[in-house]
Subunit: 612 residues, 2 copies
């Protein structure tokens, strides 16, 4: 199993883990903030020296031109301190990555190597105090001044300052700043600009003021800050001009005609960020599950009168708290790696679908991480509450994964809209109304008919059949999509604006997006599982897949019952089958977490080592 | 509403809040542990000087002999730093409270006043490393030595050290130590002993070794420690002898014949602790809801094209995350205060029922707090992640409320067993098997018949009718109790041990306990709500009550559908009615959190103040 999980980049994974196990990478206190931040910077430098920072970039700039390897490095780093992960991601993924993906040759030649080696520490300054989710409406301006051939970067009001910017409070010397481009009196929407922040000695430059965001719930090894620009001038060439440029005279040109589409195309280049976040959240989940399974496997409490006490992992409630999450971690692992592979070989035509998947998997992985780590904390009782056992730190650090790179609630709406308009390309630029009308016609015929025998079968063979699982998850997605299209159609037909109609259906849209992600996870994981031949792998992966699927169906059982997809006895039988699978997988729980192969030095929790 | 919430002890509440708003109570950093611990001790001294520490104790020892007031003080303190709350609870509730409730006149006269004024800082040493939930099997021994008339307190192995003991690492000078009493070669079960730990200068006494538990997820202002006893001698009189005593010659006597019952009677005296924990968890929830509702009411994000952005609390997903929790907080408030009143006037005959309620409400209130504060954190996005906005601190602090004073999973089993054996008294000492057989016969006839018209009604009048809500919640509890009794009967009848049978049904038992608590909350709250006459109160409390109830039913909709209590259209109508109630209550959300009347100095979060 370890080999299957490590996959084709096992050697790179081992290389990263070897570096992370060096004495220099020993964990430090999260409460001495200045020392912590300094150490995290130092860790980033050591990783950059190993070439891990620029692995995704072209060879001529010191990289291996391999996005997939970039994600492998990132997910492996997430077994270590998550402040390191995030600082690393800000510098190499967001700052250097923006230069790479939004800039052109001149930017790559001048800055990419310096960014990838951390010679030039940088920031990704998109979020503003008043605009976090709705970044299209950020207020920072970049006004072109034809007289001097410069852009003037300006913060028009306090609430428009760049906020929560990683690497800004202390270390960043330059930032990729997103701002509303204006030239010749016209507005051209959000673009990215390279803006110097500090000189080589660390002094902020004229017109730039930076304050520290202070203590956060977690990730205190990252120096987040707030940046205000007071009419800061930068050369015209500092515009990252892949998707829009301004000539010396001030003429604006862009390969993408529509301002809205241009904005989403720019954001779309950041999609590997969301995939990487999902992968990192999964690594943190694996650490927590390893700690909790090892502890609860050995921790004795209560027992029959006069007999020895029982390991708490023998108790159904503890199994129910941990083992469906373990199954979720496995399934997500396989599905994510399938996505990463597709991402590496994606053409322009797949872009929209991959973007939706990345967004969806990010929401699922981050929410799953928060829930799973919390369940691990509670299952470990007071031991879980001790910082030394790392669960509380993992949870505090990973909590913001549900918020950054797109708040989960907002991303779920995005995924649902994507599903509604997935076929928009077939029609060219349709209005939402047309798409909804078209979807309504389509969905009514596409949905699988209900089979009365299937809705009643409660035998274990059927309940464990992957075909049943796939059909149930697909049916849910299709029906929710159909239902959402119908509801929107009715509301828009009644004269509501598209905005109000969609607002009224937010819970439906979120349910659809979630159903979509769960179907995608199951399909992605099955593609790997179905190829296995080793008897233990075949058996245990079938159990994990069944537990994941039945647990999904169980959580949505009310909906399935309402739609007559399940009859009452079958719903009860599914609940019981989840219990049966928990009991069966309890035996394999230890080998299943051992297969994650997280080095003890990184795991670090005293309770993950059995009491002698 | 503020007056209704403050209740009959409004003056005491105001007195406590006035003290907490003094400059000396300004919050301090949670990251400077030594300073934090020292400040929390100082805060406790200031509160003791106001007479709040001993308010529950007899007048002759400086108190007001009022348990209810003790809980009012505690729940009000929970609007401030929760380390202060817990340190206060350890000193006055657990340490002094044990002297009061487990000791007799000689202990009260010698130690109660010193404990209540914090002249004598003390600990409550029950938990051991290997025994947290299963405290009946703790291993510390207290062996009576008739030659010297002393007990010898001893830790037989490392895993038997007292662990996680609040006030132990630094400040405690004495501990109430729970240990297995042995005398004349016989074992008499767990008893409590007063054991000196440190001299007046703070030096640990011979035979006592204490180590610091170190950093925790939260509550770092409390100095938790691990205590090991190496054959420490204490006078015979230090046995807290209300429920069992040893004569000078070594003869053991007790007013409670059975060792098992004696143990549970002793634990039962601690029941006000669980009620107080529930009330404190609720206060923390109210703080978080106040912060989140105020912020999301003013925070703008997205909007229709070309129009102003909308407050995020206008969005259904945010309403769904916050408003059912607000309804839960209100309902829990009323139900808890009803329990507190009964607790104050309880006779021996109510003891068992009140104990089950306290345990149940503690599980519900603590789980609700963790979920609600997390929802608040996420609804506030990045602002919620900043420590200055307090949500992350509240969540980290309150997290362990699900674990201490009885882990929630264990308490739910206790509540379920209590429901199964509630009528045991009618039969004397029956075995579980007999109780189950009796219950099975009883439950089959007691359950309300299903009414086919009711299962179909979907009109708002019916869906908002408190009678429907009460019936639905009662029916769920009864049916789950009946079902559990039948399942246990079948398994025990098939030859399983009671232990194994109950283990196999843990999820069922937890569901029953939860259903019981939700019914208790609704009934308790309705008793208050039904007395109101002010039109706004009547309207808004009806909405809160309906939202709480329908949200409960919605979460268990699969079960109701399986049991044919709901037909499919009704289940869908309930989901929609939850949305309708969320939209209606959105208008009142601000006044509803304002009514909690938490002083701004205690709330402290910058985002709880609107941006000018």
């Amino acid at each position: 199993m370890t080999a299957l999980l490590a996959g084709k980049h096992a050697a790179l994974r081992t290389r990263v883990l070897d570096v992370l196990q060096r004495p220099a990478f020993a964990y430090v206190s999260v409460h001495d903030r200045e020392a912590y931040r300094a150490r995290v910077l130092e860790w980033c430098r050591l990783l950059a020296a190993e070439g891990f920072g620029g692995i995704a970039f072209p060879r001529e700039f010191g990289g291996e031109h391999d996005t997939e390897k970039g994600i492998v490095v990132f997910e492996t780093l997430a077994y270590h301190d998550l402040s390191l992960l995030v600082k690393f991601g800000v510098q190499f993924g967001l700052f250097a990555g923006s230069i790479h993906r939004l800039g052109t040759r001149r930017h790559h030649e001048r800055w990419l190597r310096a960014a990838a080696t951390l010679e030039l520490p940088g920031c990704f300054a998109m979020t503003e105090t008043a605009h976090g989710s709705n970044v299209r409406d950020i207020e920072t301006t970049a006004t072109y001044m034809p007289d001097s051939g410069e852009f003037e970067i300006h913060t028009p009001r306090v609430q428009a300052r760049k906020d929560y910017i990683g690497n800004a409070a202390l270390h960043g010397r330059m930032a990729v700043v997103f701002a509303q481009l204006g030239s010749q009196g016209a507005a051209h929407g959000v673009h990215a600009f390279l803006v110097p922040l500090r000189d080589a000695s660390g002094q902020t430059l004229p017109g730039v003021s930076i304050e520290d965001c202070g203590w956060k719930e977690g990730l205190n090894g990252v120096d987040n800050g707030r940046i205000t620009f007071d009419r800061v001038r930068i050369p015209r060439e500092n515009l990252l001009n892949r998707f829009g440029d301004v000539a010396a005279a001030g003429t604006y040109t862009s390969p993408v005609a529509s301002a809205g589409r241009r904005f989403f195309t720019m954001l779309g280049t950041l999609v590997s960020g969301r995939t990487a976040i999902a992968a990192a959240a999964l690594s943190a989940t694996k650490s927590a599950l390893t700690i909790a399974v090892r502890y609860t496997d050995g921790r004795l409490q209560f027992g029959p009168d006069g007999e020895a006490e029982r390991p708490v992992l023998d108790y159904l409630l503890v199994q129910r708290a941990l083992l469906p999450r373990l199954a979720g971690a496995y399934m997500l692992h396989f599905a994510l790696h399938e996505l990463v592979e597709r991402l590496a070989h994606a053409g322009e035509s797949d872009a929209q679908e991959i973007e939706a998947r990345a967004a969806g998997l990010k929401t699922w992985a981050s929410a799953h991480a928060v829930e799973a780590i919390q369940a691990c904390r509670e299952a470990c009782g007071g031991q879980g509450y001790l910082e030394a056992n790392r669960l509380s730190i993992l949870r505090a650090d990973v909590d913001v994964f549900t918020t950054f790179e797109g708040a989960n609630g907002v991303l779920l709406q995005l995924v649902a809209r994507g599903l509604l308009t997935e076929y928009r390309e077939e029609f060219g630029e349709l209005r939402l109304w047309d798409v909804v009308r078209w979807m309504t016609g389509r969905a009514a015929t596409a949905i699988t008919e209900l089979n009365p025998i299937i809705t009643r079968r409660t035998d274990p063979d059927h309940l464990r059949d992957p075909e049943f699982h796939l059909n149930a998850l697909r049916w849910r997605e299709e029906r929710l999509l159909d239902g959402l299209a119908r509801r929107l159609r009715r509301r828009i037909g009644d004269g509501e604006s598209a905005f109000d109609a969609f607002s009224a259906c937010q819970d439906h849209a979120a349910a659809l997006a979630n159903a979509h992600v769960e179907r995608v996870i199951l399909e992605g994981a099955r593609a790997v599982i179905d190829q296995q031949t080793d008897p233990w792998l075949v058996r245990v992966l079938a159990q994990l897949s069944a537990l994941f699927s039945l647990h999904c169906i169980e959580r949505h059982a009310a909906w399935y019952l309402e739609k007559n997809y399940l009859e009452a006895p079958k719903s009860a039988a599914i609940r019981e089958q989840v219990n049966v699978l928990c009991r069966e997988l309890r035996t394999d729980a230890l080998p299943l977490v051992d297969a994650f192969a997280i080095p003890p030095a990184l795991l670090a929790a005293p309770v993950s080592v059995p009491v002698p």
